[in-house]
Amino acid sequence: MKRRPLRPISEVIFVRKKGQNPNNIEKENIRQRHLRMERFARIRSESRLLVLAGFLLVSFIGIAFKMGLVSMTTPIEPVASSQMLKPSTKRADILDRNGSILATNLITNALYAKPRMMINRNFAAGELAKIFPELKFEKLLKLLGSDRKFVWIKRKISPEQMQAVHELGEPGLRFGPREMRLYPNGRLASHVLGGVNFGKEGVNSAELVGIAGVELKFDQFLQDNLGKGVPLILSLDLGIQSAVEHVLSGGMKLMNAKGATAVLMDIHSGEILSMVSLPDFDPNDRILSGKGKKGSENPLFNKSVQGLYELGSVFKVFTAAAVLEDGLVKPDTLVDTTSPIWWGKHKISNYHRLPDELSFTDVLVESSNTGTSRLAKELGATRQKEFLKSLGFFDNTGIELVEASHIKSKYPANWSEISTMTISYGHGISSSPLHVASAFATLLNGGTKVRPTLLNRNSQNAKGDRIISTNVSNELIKILHQVVDRGTASAANVDGYSVAGKTGTANKVKPNGGYYKKKNITTFASVFPVERPKYVLLVTLDEPNILTGKKSRRTAGWTAAPIASEIIFRVAPLLGIKPNFQTEENDNLLLVGN
């Protein structure tokens, strides 16, 4: 700024001439100078304020904009660690005890349509009907012709089908990724596994929900462990399950039976190594498999846990265990086996002719109904009921299958003396094969209660309450070994392994009371190896009938026992049981040394 003098000489002279005070000029100039400085300072600060205000405004607008943006967009966390990884498949796998896959997931696609976006509905419907033979042209046309925004066409399609649909070039046909449950072994262990169905469904994913078997029982576990990769490990052994299923289905055909079931159980841990029920189904296609048939005819019906049958003479083992435990008899005690026994209008007789007196061991070996009935009478109804209760017949087995959760043995409301006598040899009480298998395991593992399980327990002992003494358990095994060795179950002898067991043949119950004369349920309950009992195998056949010569054979000794023998022969090496291959001349061998 150009500074002006406060007392310009010309003005001073001029004022002096007028006789005025020149100091006033200076005052006036200072005043004006101050005014100018003030104006300048004001302008400068005002502009500064303006710039500052502008700056703040811009910043605030920026911040507000960012805040708006943040609040409007969905939050995305930075994926900085691999733990955040979502697994490619969601529902946990199911494995057998050796880690073989029983159930897993596979990514496939679902086909849906947006009818409004379609170009040539007629053509598309025709082509789709060609690609998917199970879909009808008319139905497809109706579906695609509707005015809906969105229709499902097929839930699971294969990559080939997907490609074929792609090649139609129809913009209204869309694909959504789908996780599907796959059972690579097909029908194997189908009743244990059960099956799944789609639950809540969206375009891009669908929830898999268990609908039966362990898939339903452990649904929460299988769904919950997202990404942890923790599989569900069952007690089943794939190889053993396969062998049992193979032998049983072959045997079932050979014996002309309608159905069959087998349970193989570790008697110390309660682990089920194999559970088969025939006819079975393909869990990959569960919904179709179960159509049209009711009750036990339905392949979805698990005979080993859901079927309640009168299982006949295998129950003699429970009567025998009770009287041995109570000290009423010893193995060599003589028992009256005269036949028949009349109780009111009821007649109890032996299946075949027997002497009038047999040792207690032979009552079981020859499977005498009258002998067992008399023993049960001595035992009494209360003790018999209590003993069967302690073996778990009147509760559910506790197996991890939803289907079995309400299954308990059925028995007469009035447990009279005649009931006591018939129940002693397995008539008048119906129970599931698994109930009998667990009771056998309990009696023959040394006498402690064992609960069957489908979960892998690594063969650890699961000792429960003591039901019978170890001595009685050992006696029982000896007696049951003789049943196989020289009794009704001689067909169950296995080359190289010693087996103990008991046959049971019962007439089938008519749906509205009474019994069928020529329809049987035959059972063979066995335990092996006799030297160190480890496994219980129970085989039950529904209406078996074979012809030997001209004679029709329907008893367990002819039907269930040989199948059990073959199963043990096949399975025992897989179980790692050492065969006791005793060559007869072994004793005569000379030990030679150098």
């Binding site: 073989s100 896959i101 596979l106 097909g186 190889g239 190289g496 025992a572 060559t583 061998l589």
Partner: protein
Amino acid sequence: MKSITYILVTITVISLAFWAYQESYRAKSTLNLIRTVNKDIHFIQEKLGVLRVEWAYLNRPDRLRALADLNFEKLRLIELNTKHFDDLMIIGVKKQNLSSKTADVLNQTNFNSDAAEISQ
């Protein structure tokens, strides 16, 4: 003095800003990399899943049984059963001292000549 402080502060601010800028971009590119890697892992996991399924499917017992039946003779397979086990005691004993049953088994299996043929 004052101006030196100003200059120093300004330089500090600028260099910090530069560092932050660089860090931000490094972080972003790392996140991008992680995303790609995760995508790859996801893809490979999916592939692995399919392979596992395929493996399980190809090794299903039904198929293995069928294959074993088909190639039973070609591969000179023998059934695993109790006949292949015996007491250790009899090993080293002359053949004529063996029970007829055991000798039978030994003759049947004839593993020496089989092994020789297979190794050829």
